[in-house]
């Protein structure tokens, strides 16, 4: 384990991160990351790695991806000024509108990028996991667009609480497989998608949605999602007159957050904050706040921070939001926390639902419950830093959350 207590060492690691040296050739971000998978999957990961090197920067691949992002996904997504919230909270709040991307969240950026890659790698079919259902819908859409058969694994608990997304996936031709093992949420869905992939590693492409898993997935997802931060940076300069003082995004596995954060890592005056799900409290099993409460370990292919007990068993998590309800986190987030470049905090279920209601009424935007966690944290920051300029990732829209909202905010009101 590297020594992070030493400030000079942390500063050196940050410089290397800014220079783009991570992941290193072992797929590591400092000590985090790596490739902890059954031997059966090693050749598939090697092929993916080679495919990324061959295609990701290839002009023809980039041209096709850009065309799909611009003419099918609807990029660039707008940067909106939150007039009412800014006036009310006493700071300037700018929202990066990933909720306006096709299928309703940032997940489509990576789903389309990976589906185009899967085609080039000769995949016969695609499997994906999904928690909130947004990555499942994005994968189903990208696969439909490119004519690839798609199977989505989704925990039985999530199928119930994100029911609208299940229907959307099916309408776009995907097969949705309920996962009744394990915790029946995102973690169990990842386990099951890996089991499917391990059965046919040559013909199946695993379209992993979060910035988690074995190398090169966290890197691939970061590269495809960084469009969020790159666009935001330009839009802030053009529309807001300068870079933000603080950038916020919600963190489950960490895909939208790493996409937003990575292009700002080198802007040392920009404070960066990740917001996790605090659930109903700080006890083990009551939240999904891995970066706040987790300890180092290996889950689902990577060495990162995890919510686990003293015996290395992964803990059940809780969050009102399916997309944040996960006991691990992408290895690069663990790294950014450890070197002190990004601060992570957590927001509880109730506070996130309040923020969801406030954003809906103030700005006419119903955000995903995941996203609402970030807004609750932004509100607190705004009050601490009056007049400041804040950028927040509005990672997805909340239509999918109607079953949960009907049981909570709308209880007795319908």
């Amino acid at each position: 384990m590297m020594n992070f207590d030493n400030e000079a060492n942390r500063a050196d690691l940050l410089e290397r991160e800014i220079r783009g040296e991570f992941p290193d050739d072992k797929g590591r971000y400092g000590p985090f990351g790596g490739r902890y998978v059954p031997e059966t999957l090693i050749p598939a990961l090697e092929r993916l790695d080679a495919g990324i090197k061959r295609w990701l920067k290839d002009p023809e691949y980039q041209a096709e991806l850009t065309r799909e992002l611009n003419t099918w996904v609807g990029r660039p997504t707008p940067l909106s000024y939150a007039h009412t919230l800014s006036a009310r909270w006493g700071a300037h709040v700018w929202m990066k509108r990933e909720d306006l991307a096709h299928t309703g969240a940032h997940k489509i950026n990576s789903a389309m990028g990976q589906a185009l890659l899967a085609k080039r790698l000769g995949a016969k079919r695609v499997v994906a996991e999904t928690g909130a259902g947004q990555h499942g819908v994005a994968s189903a859409a990208a696969c439909a667009r490119l004519g690839l058969p798609c199977t989505v694994y989704m925990g039985a608990v999530d199928i119930e609480r994100q029911a609208p997304n299940v229907g959307r996936m099916k309408l776009m031709g995907a097969t949705v497989v309920p996962v009744t093992g394990g915790d029946q949420t995102l973690r169990a869905a990842v386990d099951e998608a890996i089991r499917d992939w391990v059965t046919d590693p040559n013909g199946t492409y695993y379209l992993l949605g979060s910035a988690i898993g074995p190398h090169p997935y966290p890197y691939l997802v970061r590269e495809l999602q960084s469009i969020i931060g790159r666009e935001s940076r330009q839009q802030m300069l053009a529309q807001a007159g300068g870079l933000p003082q603080a950038v916020y995004a919600c963190v489950g596995g960490g895909s939208n957050a790493i996409g937003m954060f990575y292009p700002f890592v080198g802007d040392k005056d920009v404070e960066i904050y990740g917001v996790e799900a605090g659930g109903r409290g700080s006890g083990l099993g009551d939240n999904s706040a891995t970066l706040s409460y987790g300890t180092p370990g290996v889950l689902q292919g990577a060495f990162s921070l995890l919510l686990q007990d003293a015996h290395g068993q992964i803990q059940e998590t809780h969050s009102v939001s399916a997309g944040l309800d996960y006991p691990g986190v992408g290895p690069e987030h663990a790294f950014l926390k450890t070197i002190g470049r990004v601060s992570y905090e957590s927001i509880g279920d109730d506070e996130s639902l309040e923020a969801l209601e406030e954003l809906s009424q103030a700005e006419g935007i119903l955000p995903a419950i995941e996203t609402a966690h970030a807004f609750a944290a932004v509100r607190a920051y705004a009050k601490r830093h009056p007049g400041s300029r804040i950028l927040v990732g509005l990672s997805g829209r909340g239509d999918k959350d109607m079953p949960t909202l009907t049981r909570t905010l709308l209880k007795g009101k319908l």
Binding site: R35, P38, T40, G182, D191, I194, V298, Q300, H311, I314
Partner: protein, 256 residues
């Protein structure tokens, strides 16, 4: 003699009897935690090597049977430390050498400094870690070796030729040749391609070769016999234990 030699000796002794070695897998503390040692002794009485599975919440290489057994064991409070303590305290040494099969995270919780000595004290000969490929394995392999323990390497039908030679060339204990792509427990028909693949593995390896994943019946063992030094029987045995049937009788029924 080093603990790691026990495994090769057990495989050689089966060979001397004209049959492949039976490597039997059981989940620790399944079906009943308090009967762990007696179940182990029953299995060890009819197996050449015993793999004891350390239960884990996220067994991504395992099929339904072992997932279920893991879950049941965890619910009864089985932990790696409890397994090591129970083995160390067992009144009689099991009749067959023992390997621990564990995903990496429970091993990390004990720590690589402490694990090898605790394992040696418990009479363990080595480890199989399904989510630890060679590239990530050096540190654990070195620590185990210092205590004379093996880290068993897996190879699969999709392992490329040059990787296969490199993995088999430095194998320790035996080479665990996974018979198919997929998780544990699904039955395999053992088509000719699998036999050809096992022949390739054997050719590349100076250590014995044991085939595992999907082996349930004597017919399969007979078909494999000329191509391997041993067979690993996991899910089928766990199901026998689950049904409360005689584990030793089942294992003996596999002998060709």
């Amino acid at each position: 003699m080093l603990p790691s030699d026990d495994v090769q000796k057990a495989i050689a002794s089966a060979k001397a009897q004209g049959r492949p070695a039976i490597v039997a897998f059981m989940t620790a503390g399944f079906p009943v935690r308090d009967e762990f040692i007696s179940t182990l002794n029953q299995v060890a009485s009819a197996a050449d090597v015993v793999e004891i599975g350390v239960p884990f919440t996220d067994p991504m290489a395992d099929g339904m049977t072992i997932q279920r057994a893991s879950h049941t064991a965890l619910k009864q409070g089985v932990t790696l430390r409890w397994i090591l303590d129970s083995l160390a305290a067992a009144p009689v040494k099991p009749a067959a050498p023992i390997l621990l099969m564990s995903y990496l995270n429970p091993l990390l919780s004990v720590g690589f400094d402490e694990l090898p000595t605790a394992a040696r004290r418990a009479g363990v000969s080595g480890f199989i870690v399904p989510d630890l490929p060679r590239e990530e394995a050096q540190e654990l392999a070195d620590q185990l070796k210092a205590q004379g323990l093996s880290l068993i390497q897996m190879v699969t039908p999709v392992t490329p030729v040059d990787r296969l030679s490199s993995l088999c060339g430095s194998a320790d204990g035996f080479v665990y040749a996974v018979t198919m792509t997929g998780t544990t427990g699904a039955q395999v028909a053992v088509p000719d391609e699998v036999l050809e693949y096992l022949d390739r593995v054997r050719e590349a390896s100076s250590a014995p070769v044991c085939a595992g994943f999907g082996i349930r019946h004597r017919d399969q063992v007979m078909r494999l016999a000329a191509h391997v030094d041993g067979v690993v029987v996991g899910s089928a045995l766990v199901e026998v234990l689950e049904r409360g049937e005689d584990a030793a009788e089942f294992l003996r029924s596999l002998h060709p």
